[in-house]
């Protein structure tokens, strides 16, 4: 199982790498665009040419804006009108709770109440304080703690609501429809529940102890899976890059880390401090193995965090890149844009299907690795002996 998983991970890495190659040029293009834009504004002033502002399409910027968090939920843009869902801004500034609606920022163009969404600099995308002129960022003031209900938080709530709605109703059905064949939604989720139990938890943790980890494993599996799928829907209520957000994956990984650490037994720590089956000189004068093992304790959840984040973000970026291609070429020539759109759509369909697979695969991998870590937290004694034999 580990082997196949490694293969999959490798495959996904390759995908991500390819994607980086793909996206990098666009960002280059966008960078050069910005430069040319500046040049053009200068020349515009001279030539008073037609406004090229509307024609500009910055693929890198658009993609990153779609992938990162936002204080409003942008749905569409008709001409100059943005259709957005305004979301509440909650700030804690010097111990004071400040709340207002994000529409006051007018799509990050204006300041409100002494706050603005930084467009540039190290706090890009964050809410910062402005000086009294309403434009200049107050570099000396502390950045307020931003607990806003952002697009991702909203998406998180939607995802969690869907999760609760599905499984509480399914649980009710189980109680009512006891000992009968599953029906409807129940029969849709039951194979997955049994998959998590029989193919993830039981082999990784062991027949005896898997039970107490099941609630967490099922929750993360379905949380990741449902949010991955929601992320693939291009419109509200989907479209947020939630599972591709490092904060989300970090919290999930921390949960796994904490549960692993709190369910360890003595053998686990002996295994780390005095790794069996390793020559003594790797442990004694310089505790090389213990250092590696202790690092491993932290790298495991770190890898979990990065893998999910990178895979999902990668998927979003690829799909957005193919879509952006249409506009990049349309900027050159409308006809070329239409031509490219056909290819782009074909690729997007392909990517969409691939992302469906990845959505499941990443949920599976995250759950499987968590289960393996839980299993490792309670290494059995004969395990060590096996190590000794192999040494």
């Amino acid at each position: 199982m580990n082997l196949t998983f490694c293969k999959k991970a490798n495959y996904i890495k390759t995908l991500f790498f390819l994607l980086l190659i793909f996206v990098y040029p666009f960002q280059k293009i966008s960078a050069s665009d910005e430069i040319s834009e500046k040049k053009e504004t200068k020349t515009e002033a001279k030539h008073e040419g037609a406004s090229s502002e509307k024609e500009k399409f910055n693929a890198g910027k658009v993609i990153i804006e779609h992938v990162v968090d936002n204080h409003e939920w942008h749905i569409a843009k008709f001409g100059e009108t943005h259709v957005t869902i305004p979301l509440p801004v909650i700030l804690i500034d010097n111990g004071k709770l400040i709340t207002f609606c994000s529409s006051n920022f007018h799509h990050a163009t204006q300041s409100y109440n002494g706050y603005i969404i930084a467009e540039e600099g190290k706090h890009k995308g964050k809410i910062v304080k402005v000086l009294e002129d309403g434009i200049t960022i107050d570099e000396s003031a502390a950045v307020p703690v931003d607990l806003s209900i952002t697009k991702n938080v909203m998406s998180l709530f939607i995802g969690l609501f869907v999760l609760c709605a599905i499984f509480l109703s399914v649980a009710r059905k189980y109680k009512k429809n006891n000992l009968r064949a599953p029906k409807g939604l129940q029969s849709m989720v039951e194979p997955l529940i049994i998959f998590v139990r029989d193919d993830i938890a039981k082999p990784s943790i062991g027949e005896k102890r898997y039970g107490k980890f099941m609630p967490f494993l099922l929750t993360i599996f379905f949380f990741i899976f449902i949010n991955n799928l929601l992320g693939l829907i291009p419109f509200f209520p989907g479209g947020a890059n939630l599972t591709g957000n490092i904060a989300i994956t970090m919290v999930l990984a921390v949960f796994t880390f904490l549960i692993t650490t709190f369910s360890t037994n003595k053998a686990y720590w002996t295994h780390i401090i005095n790794t069996p089956g390793v020559p003594w000189w790797l442990k004694f004068p310089i505790p090389l193995m213990p250092i590696v093992e202790i690092l491993g304790v932290f790298t495991k959840p770190f890898v979990l965090m990065v893998r999910l984040f990178a895979n999902i973000t990668a998927g979003h970026i690829i799909i957005l890149s193919f879509t952006s291609l249409i506009f990049i070429f349309a900027n050159i020539n409308i006809g070329v844009g239409y031509g490219v759109s056909i290819i782009s759509i074909i690729f997007n369909v392909f990517m969409g299907l691939l992302e469906l697979l990845v959505a499941f695969l990443q949920a599976y991998v995250f759950t499987l690795l968590s289960a393996i870590y839980f299993g490792m937290a309670q290494v059995e004694h004969h395990h060590e002996e096996a190590h000794d034999h192999s040494a």
Partner: protein
């Protein structure tokens, strides 16, 4: 940078809401679901094993029935055989007895016949004797009615008698 910097707000909301959802689902969804799944699996397992058992019992019953049938047949055959033997014996015996009886009767009849015959012979002898005496008496009477004849007879008789 923004992409790989976790936002405080999102961490906060995620931790809070995920923990709550984890708790709710663990208590109200996963626990009943896992229990019911387990229960159902147990139920199916039991049902299957009891079906197996029933099948086994059925097979046992059938073989028992066959055994019984076989035994019954055997018994019937044995009974029939016995009955036939008894009948034959009876007939044989009856035949023997009848023969014996018949023989006895014949014997008795023979004895009776002998007896009757003897009687008849004796009777005949007696009658013959008395008849002979009668006849002799008559003859003698006739013969000895005159003196001459008497003398002649006496002479004849005397002639026969030799004196040694």
């Amino acid at each position: 940078m923004e992409l790989v910097t976790p936002g405080i707000g999102l961490i906060f909301w995620m931790t809070l809401s995920f923990a709550i959802v984890l708790f709710i689902l663990a208590k109200y969804a996963w626990k009943p679901i896992m229990n019911m799944l387990h229960e159902r699996e147990q139920f199916i397992e039991n049902a299957l094993s009891s079906a197996d058992k029933a099948k086994q019992e059925m097979a046992n019953l059938q073989s028992n029935n066959e055994q019984l049938l076989k035994e019954a047949k055997e018994e019937r055959d044995a009974l029939l055989r016995d009955a036939r033997k008894v009948r034959e014996n009876l007939i044989e015996e009856a035949k023997g007895k009848a023969q014996l009886e018949a023989n006895k009767i014949v014997e008795q009849a023979k004895e009776n016949i002998q007896f009757e015959k003897m009687n008849a012979i004796t009777d005949l002898k007696n009658q013959l004797a008395s008849l002979s005496v009668d006849i002799a008496e008559r003859i003698l009477r006739d013969e000895l009615s005159n003196v001459e004849k008497q003398k002649e007879v006496i002479n004849n008789l005397l002639k026969d008698i030799k004196f040694n």
